[in-house]
Symmetry: D2
Subunit: 368 residues, 4 copies
């Protein structure tokens, strides 16, 4: 199959874009920054039948290189500096070149670099003539365009580059966009109770404290407006001593005449992609610990949960105010969004729901 893809991809590269030729071609995806997000996006790309990983970058021959090698992803150096490239071989890793070499063979690059190197990297991507996708750590101002599957796939069709919004913004969009589309307007206050460090990070605290984000309102909620400007939202945020999930505590004020009930809201979300609704009392899933255990049972690599988790018994519509909690797996809810964003930018799938279904089916097939 891989041989097939390579053949097809060669054909593709020779001409402009396979879609016009009337048959399936594979999009060549580069991952710039093979870390927490990069390694997940790479796997999600690799299991799709319309795209492939053409290479991933590491800054130096460090620990994560083993994983890339084991997965069979060609390894490149984040830099074009010959010395840095040469440093991989003595450590036992084959390095296929620098970032420029990788960009030269790619259709699109997913920037998963940790720092705020956005502007600098964007210039490189543009110079190389590849499409580019940044992650939510970068600002909307830098990319000029943002992306969430359910919010603005159409607006991202065929654009040069975009930004897949953060895990929090993605999570808010999953439940708020359907509400907005039903109600026509929406005013939201959200408190984000954030995990203070990722599971693999032993450096950060606090160990026994709550840390409010003293910039109020926080930047988190309003970021939703980069993908759905019509939703009026503010937020407050605190960090707490846990590593596994964020929780959102939300009050969404619906307009008069919204016609919804607690039950109809739950039904709406049940029909929305990438939202899981479960009853805490019935399932015993009453904290993020049990949510993550449920996710581990699902069997995805890293125990990931791409879906937003909503507690059925934690949703209540009181007058026009809808109160609810949702939990966000900060390491992974954006992963499938990157796949959909690739299709949007490459112009290979204009219907977001079709893309979402395709993305999720391919990922699910890995764990059956």
């Amino acid at each position: 199959m891989l041989d097939d893809q390579i053949t097809r991809s060669k054909v593709h590269l020779r001409g402009a874009k396979a879609p016009t030729t009337g048959r399936v071609m594979t999009i060549k995806v580069a991952i710039n920054g093979y870390g927490t997000i990069g390694k997940r996006v790479a796997d999600a790309v690799a299991c799709q039948d319309d795209m492939e990983i053409i290479g991933v970058t590491k800054t130096r021959p460090a620990f994560g290189c083993d994983l890339a090698v084991r997965k069979g992803y060609p390894l490149y150096c984040t830099f074009d500096n010959p010395e840095k490239i040469a440093a991989f071989a003595p450590a036992g890793y084959e390095c296929h070149g620098g970032l420029s070499d990788l960009l030269a063979v790619a259709d699109i690059v997913i920037d998963c670099s940790p720092g705020k190197l956005g502007a600098e990297n964007k210039a490189k991507y543009q110079a190389a003539g590849v499409k580019w996708i940044f992650q939510g750590g970068e600002k909307h101002e830098m990319t000029g365009m943002s992306y969430t599957s359910c919010a603005n796939h159409a607006a991202n069709l065929n654009v040069e580059g975009t930004r897949v919004v953060s895990c929090n913004t993605t999570g808010l969009s999953r439940t708020l966009v359907p509400l907005y589309e039903h109600c026509g307007e929406l005013s939201v206050e959200c408190t984000m109770i954030r995990r203070a460090a990722d599971p693999g990070d032993s450096k950060k605290g606090p160990i026994n404290a709550i840390k409010p984000v003293l910039k109020v309102p926080s930047h988190h909620g309003p970021d939703v407006m980069t993908v759905k400007p019509e939703i009026n939202i503010n937020s407050l945020a605190v960090a707490v001593p846990t590593t596994i999930m964020h929780v959102h505590s939300i009050v969404a004020t619906l307009p008069e005449g919204h016609g919804l009930t607690t039950e109809s809201v739950l039904k709406m979300w049940s029909n929305s992609p990438r939202v899981v609704i479960m009853n805490g009392a019935e399932t015993g899933i009453t904290t993020t610990a049990e949510v993550m255990e449920f996710a581990r049972d699902m069997g995805r690599t890293w125990g990931d949960l791409h879906e937003i988790f909503v507690w059925e018994d934690g949703v209540k519509l009181v007058g026009n105010n809808l109160y609810y909690f949702q939990a966000i797996h900060q390491e992974s809810d954006v992963i499938p969004e990157n796949i959909d964003a690739i299709r949007a930018l490459m112009g290979t799938e204009s219907d977001w729901q079709v893309s979402v279904a395709k993305t999720d089916a391919a990922i699910a097939s890995l764990f059956e």
Copy 2:
């Protein structure tokens, strides 16, 4: 002003207690349940010049008895059962009798018992003809009256019994009541990020999770309406793995024409009793860990913080919405409130601000 209080208190006391001493008489306070709250209220009572601890109860000759003995508080058994009373002596503690014996010599009892023994205990207190104060663990419906110094001291004057509201409700009242009194109306949404266990409790989890209170809206916020019914408030709550403080994330919607600014709100709170305002960026007090360290520096026993802590740089008025964070020391913010409530019920001080000043000055004098 203080002289005034002493004079007034003399007048009041002249009838009841004058025979004993011919001078300032002290209110005889019983503590039923000498635990986390009881031990703190006892010390706060003992340092006031108009009241004294007449006895404290323990269910059995257990660990906390030593503290009572060391402090010089007469020890009674929570029960009237002769066998249970007799069990103290062999363990080396002098037990002065059962609850009935204690009530017989008390003017007022502060119920700090852990369980929900409210109704049963209330009947005993009424039968003994003493006034009574419950804590926020009991429901308003049982007591029929609730108390917060700044909210409804006057309404509690000379009543038979009341309930000092919970640490959370007390904390909300401290900042919301002044706002309400300025604005005339107030609509509030609050998310409570709660410490999951007290510092001395090693049994409860979670260790690494966030636990939403799935009853939404939660009971916490609306409890404010038991002391200030005019404030319209709802809340959501989560428990997080920390032992030291609750944090409230608050959005208070002010009425049109409120005439306030972020600065004038801060000034209003600076002038409100039992509210501490500090700038996180300037002081380095950016989490509840540093707030509690600040409290430890104050030197009160147990490192208590009776005041509500508001981050100056975490307050912002945006249009009619006031966003702010406050931190609550769950073990102690209600302690001085109990002292004021005693004066309200005994009718010895009708001005809440006078009582608060007297209470706080006596406590402060211990640590100078």
Copy 3:
């Protein structure tokens, strides 16, 4: 080395199984108690070519049933009570009968029930004429036989039943047995720093405390002597607020003339199955957080780590005292041991190293 082992295992299988059935026969395995351990053992059994899951039990139609159904494991009720069996159907689960029905079709049962139901269950298994394996939560006195692959596989060949020792005992055996076999004698002191709750458990504390196990010496270390009586070992244990791994802090006193060096010990362990050795300084894996992240990268379901993790730079031989740390994934290090134990009891593989290689290769093949 792995290739070698696989070759040997092929040779072995060709011989060992032909006589019995004329073709490769599969051992029919029942799991009594489909929870944290049960669900993992089931998957490990299912991927072996010489055994299969014939059924798993749940006490009632609760949450975990979905997982069993999704995995395709026939569901049975833990009890034989017809009402309890009948309760599954209305909840949407097909229940194939009670425990007796399951035992009737099984060759061997793996008891993964949570409580200490050992004696009672053993009687049932014996009555049904099936072989049985308990887990480390049960006492050696009840089973009369215990098992660890590297310690006493041969002694367990063809026995009626055994007990796969706890995660801690298993972990100690992995590093101590090779030492013992080299040195001939060994005296060990170990402090176990234990995770206080599993990741999916949000009930247990402590949140901010260290809890010593006040029974000293603790029962943990000496349990090693149930599988290797010649190792002289004592232990102390504390529980700490983490959910992900136990850490052992070990001082092993070697006999005079042991002839070992720090380097030769490391080499010995590198050649021992199910021990992973990595350098903390070089890899950045300096705490159990990074160890578990490394395990998640390996890709096993639940992010499991069947291997014991030893920090290369945390091992030092000083005179006759060998100091080292090792980390234990409490949820999973015993999983492959159960597979080997099945082969021991069924008498289908007498060489522990062959069984280990076969077990691990089958599990690894799932994640390639």
Copy 4:
């Protein structure tokens, strides 16, 4: 016993000090670095009748200055730089000069500075002709002398300077020195389970991990040999996600013919200063959370526990091996040691037990 000690101390003071000055002279103590340790030592000095705080230093007009002002301790700048000194006034603090100015009026300086500024500071102290005491963060090699009240008070009499050993070393000395003095020799293995951050520190992790100190054996245990070289000791250390106490898990091997029993060891420690022994099962004090709550009940500022806490039911002598746990309040166990060290260096009290009794009685009198 305490009465005895106090009597002796009175006698001593009457005799010993008269020759020097004709009356009781107070030792003028400077604190260089008014932080976690400095603020505690200052209070402990201030309550003694033979010494006084002559000044404390801060690097800049930051938060802790308020506490010094409130306590009435003259404030100096850590540096002699005129600009840095001048920076205090605009911030509202009276600064009495630089470090040199402070040293000029002091008899002895307690160095509580955070960084490893030892050598540089020592030169300044020597140049100023004052005696000096460093804390356990500095190395023995720099000071050439170390101090623990119960281990080597006599050796520190009238020396120029010393180092009060760390909280861990102090704690080990409290229980090991009495054992050594009884037995004549002692071989000890200790695992230190350390709190990863102090209560007021919200920056450090880990949140959910155990972090072994990969240098093995660790430096902690052998540091005991700087005050009692005859004790043969090694240690291993891990950091865990708690803020409140270290726990030591200890195996002390006694020589043949030690003549001790578990009970006689407990009695020995009961008679040793600054060791508290309590039964976990009887008191419910089963983790460091309850130990710290017990300390808070004692009423010392910051809820400090100067004593080492040993669980009675966590001590067991098995053959020649004594197993036990002890808990260490990392912020405060060294505080009274600094007071005793001052007397040793100033030569005003040659009997360590007299000094200890005097120190502790003065501190206790604050909380009666």
